[in-house]
Symmetry: C2
Subunit: 395 residues, 2 copies
């Protein structure tokens, strides 16, 4: 069982986790995963968006049960978000085959290309492509490289690896995603396992305040169109609005871009992002309506919606099955709602989907301090392995 | 008299004005200026900070009268800020020698290396080095290049040009700086010439708010240390404080830097700059005291002063002389106070110093839209030429 820890080390040799989709580190890891799967007897498949599928055989050659997560990270993220579900999924499958031999149905490990939306203004592109729900505009990263350019360059290299099949594959019969919680509840409640009932509704926006660049010393205050003055007031009002809204709403301004961003020049423009989430679509829409009204009152301010993901209810049946297994294996667990978006959110519209969480120390995630105890990582893998065994040997 | 317009074109062949100190465009222009001066009989001198001096002969070989300005620009600035004083100064000297022959005293044209403080966190480094008042810490630009590294690389190339003297030269007996107003007053009052009585007091600060990077969806709002939430509230309060203070105070937040600057990550840190100016030191200090008190109340917030320049009174004698010349030449003029900092502010502590302004259309500066009518540019040059003639033939 040290295999998981060794694999996590091997796949995170870089100190900063910067596997932005289609970059060099991302490519190296998807390639290494393909080699790893092929060495263990899996068929490796890569679709045109760089999703990697490792298909392990069943006694009957029908549609597989699947597990997995995403290979990309946020910029300067942690070691576990996404990667744990890919490598932990791999280890769970290995454990199953070693302990029980070939199951009735095949098992598929999926390493989705992209989920975080950090390189381009589009998130969940891997699972959305897989499920046929991706609509993508022309997107540029901050180096001016288009999504399609980056995608083709990287995916071609993966698809041309030996014995790799380049194709779009059919959906599995179920999907189970193993993931760190990314919040503090399991750790605070001293539980080993979280079983996810549903996933938050999530919208993202990009707000741009337009001003007029001018000299910081000679332009009278009354004659300025200072984009930062307007934007900071807007941001303050938005935070206050969020604080006055439903308790479980999260509201985050994570990115600010100023032009020309020079200390002695009145700002020409100030662009910032909004990430807001709530447990129900109604809660989120109530906030969003007020938020857009507030932004509309500001002159020279434009707003673009960059992400809209409705709240999702995951499979009750799979959750009940996993709860029974956890009880049987003597793992303390609780059911919870996920404040983070996940590929499971996309998958769940098409196949019965469930998620297994393990604790995040201090609830920290999307940061280098992200940490889960090795014993907790292994507990998650063992439960996943038992769950996959049940699913792959069922009717 | 089309020489000035041709020279401005030649020296601003790039669409964006990005002559940050010691960069390639800066180097090309200082080099071209040296060649230009040498072709017209000037001795070219370059000191260790890359200030370029073109010394034109007088009948008596004593200390020169001087004119000039700075060669650097702000990022994405305009065509005239700094450069007009250098090339306009050159044309004024040419006009003087052509019309009147060699004057009694020598004349020096100075092209200061740096005034804007845009590449490194230090401004006026050219004139401060010339006057022996520069104290410089180890500074890095946003590529991680040190000030000293950049300086040595660029200056060595200038100092090794043919017939260039590499030395520190003594101060001139007077200094006259020709500059665009960078504000709207001359244009609004329909005046051709501004004669500057003094220059604002100016302080700059860098404020950093420290937070804790975390997941934008899973971290409960009450448990966050969101650097942008704190910073935007601070910025809003600072703008309000500035609005409540003296009428002629200017207050600008021009730069914001967020880390990690990712839409779905709570910000780890948010750093912003403050540029504040007032006509008197007392007015500025009254505001700064309140400002620092406000910032001190904010936890996890640190403040560094990056620039402190007291208000300056320029030479009354030189202004009176220039006013008489303007009247004689039938140029409408007004006296005014400068809201922009200038090399003259540094020079005036050591030698009698004056400034001649020409109108800025719509008062726009530090932006690509910066514009002064050709006729107004030439009026400034003609007045400067007459002023230098008086000064270089006086006692």
């Amino acid at each position: 069982m040290t295999q998981l820890l060794d694999l996590l080390d091997q796949f995170t040799h870089q100190h900063d986790q910067n596997r932005l989709v289609y970059n060099q580190d991302w490519l190296a890891n998807q390639r290494d995963l393909i080699f790893l799967g092929q060495r263990c007897g899996a068929t490796a498949i890569v679709d045109d968006y760089g999703n990697v599928y490792l298909d392990f055989p069943g006694q009957i050659n029908d549609q597989p049960v699947a597990t997995g997560s995403h290979m990309d990270t946020v910029k300067y993220g942690g070691r576990y978000d996404g990667l744990y579900g890919v490598l932990g999924g791999f280890c769970a499958i290995q454990q199953l085959y070693e302990q029980h031999g070939i199951p009735k149905h095949p098992i598929r490990l999926i390493s989705f290309s992209e989920e975080e939306g950090n390189r381009f203004l589009a998130a969940f592109t891997g699972s959305k492509y897989y499920t046929g729900t991706l609509q993508i505009e022309k997107l540029l990263d901050n180096q001016g490289i288009t999504f399609d350019e980056a995608r083709r360059l990287a995916v071609t290299q993966l698809q041309h690896l030996p014995y790799v099949k380049a194709q779009h594959v059919a959906l599995p019969v179920t999907f189970t995603e193993l993931h760190i919680e990314q919040g503090p509840r399991l750790a605070q409640n001293n539980k080993k396992i979280g079983l996810v009932t549903g996933i938050v509704a999530q919208n993202r926006y990009e707000v741009t305040v337009h001003g007029q660049a001018n000299h910081a010393g000679t332009t009278p205050m009354a004659q300025r169109q200072d984009a930062i003055a307007t934007a900071s007031l807007l941001m303050t009002k938005l935070y206050a609005l969020a604080a006055d809204t439903a308790e479980d709403l999260t509201f985050t301004i994570g990115e600010i871009h100023v032009s020309p961003n020079v200390s002695n020049v009145v700002a020409e423009s100030c662009r910032f992002t909004i990430d807001c989430r709530a447990n129900t679509n109604d809660q989120l829409m109530t906030f969003v309506t007020k938020m857009l009204q507030l932004l509309e009152q500001s002159k020279r301010t434009s707003v673009i919606e960059t992400l809209h993901v409705p709240a999702t209810r995951l499979s009750d049946d799979l959750l009940t099955q996993n709860a029974a297994l956890a009880t049987q294996m003597n793992y303390s667990y609780q059911t919870l709602f996920s404040g983070a978006g996940h590929d499971s959110q996309i998958m769940s519209s098409f196949v019965p989907t469930t998620m297994i969480f393990v604790p995040s120390e201090a609830g920290i995630s999307h940061a280098p301090a992200e940490y889960t105890k090795p014993a907790d990582l292994l507990t998650g893998v063992t439960l996943l392995s038992a769950s996959l065994f049940m699913q792959a040997n069922g009717e």
